[in-house]
Amino acid sequence: MPMIKIAIASGKGGTGKTMVATSLATALAPAYEVNFIDCDVEAPNGHLFLKPQISKTQPAVISVPEIDQEKCIACGKCVQACMFNALVMLQEKILVFPQLCHGCGSCTLVCPVDAITEIPNPIGTISQGMVNSRIHFFMGELKISEPMPTPIIRQTKKIAAKISDITILDSPPGASCSVVATIYDADFVILVTEPTPFGLHDLKQMIGVLSETGTRAGVIINRDGIGDKCVEHYLRNSSYPILMKIPYQNEIARELAAGKILVNFMPSYRQRFIDLFLKIQTILNSEVEGK
């Protein structure tokens, strides 16, 4: 089987991304080795459900410039090279804003007098472990007060690369940089939404992102039965299929709040999530043939 990466995203927060991601991973794990990557590095929660045995935690680091003021000739080339406004040229010295730095190294490259050394700036941690010897679990966690989630998402994905045939990426909410960093190399995106005007509004934002990246996607409507039919009406005229509907049920809410996984406390969902995966495979295969 070729490697397949499926990202779970939503736009709106609290629609059930992690419920879907943990259920999909759990349903597939008996048959396949699965990577589960929690990319919601500002508030990771996949571990609360999967309860992995963490075997290793390492720092996530970006390299930030340190300027040797003795060597610096205040030419300003590093300031011009910085795309992220992390450097300011004062009258005779350069001021560094480490929290704006993306660690790209451009300043070091352009410095004509080698006045810049790169020093490690820890911005969080990356943990890995196993769930029942079948799910390889990875989680990035951004340090509180650090403003930049994307480097840690990229690093977590890099550490997890090429371990399993199936990779499940649990995305952060929203439709901004950290979501793009999660989904940009995915083969398929599952958009989890709820049938309310709020769910639809943010779903449209994600569909806007996907029209830029060109990624194939489908929609899961969670808490079906609440709200209205606006999401279904909207999707009827789009190229995004409805993959599954999960009705609103008190029991689901109660068990999820207790940290349980949907396919475990409602075994009928196990087959539905396996079917979901098969459906995604079919969509991706038809795309390949279509080209």
Binding site: N85, V88, M89, Q91, L95, F97, Q99, L100
Partner: protein, 112 residues
């Protein structure tokens, strides 16, 4: 003395902008020569670090006093390191001219 005022528009009758890094325009006023000039904020379309880039613009323009509604932490740090004085006004000033008058009459607050 060269002062810079964050502004929504490009004239002295424009509404002053309460934002610094994301202000649409800046009005530079030379109080000694009684002369002024408008600039588009070069940081307006930056994804991040707008305050720092706008602060760099103040440095490059050799500004001595910056007048705006509020300074963000990065802009504050950069301007402070550059020795540029930071002055705040509030929404009671309706035009850039009113901000200048208030500054001349010492009615505005300087930020530490």
């Amino acid at each position: 003395m060269l002062i810079m005022i964050s502004s929504e528009g490009k004239t002295l009758e424009s509404q002053p902008s309460l934002r610094f890094g994301r202000a649409p325009n800046f009005i530079k006023v030379n109080l000694i020569e009684d002369d002024w000039e408008a600039y588009q904020n070069p940081a307006i379309d930056q994804r991040g670090g707008a305050g720092v880039k706008a602060a760099q613009f103040m440095l490059d323009q050799k500004i001595t006093h910056v007048l705006t509604g509020r300074f963000g932490p990065n802009a504050h740090q950069a301007l402070s390191a550059a020795g540029i004085k930071m002055i705040t006004f509030d929404s009671s000033c309706n035009t850039v001219s009113e901000v200048i008058e208030a500054f001349k009459n010492n009615l505005l607050t300087e930020v530490d």
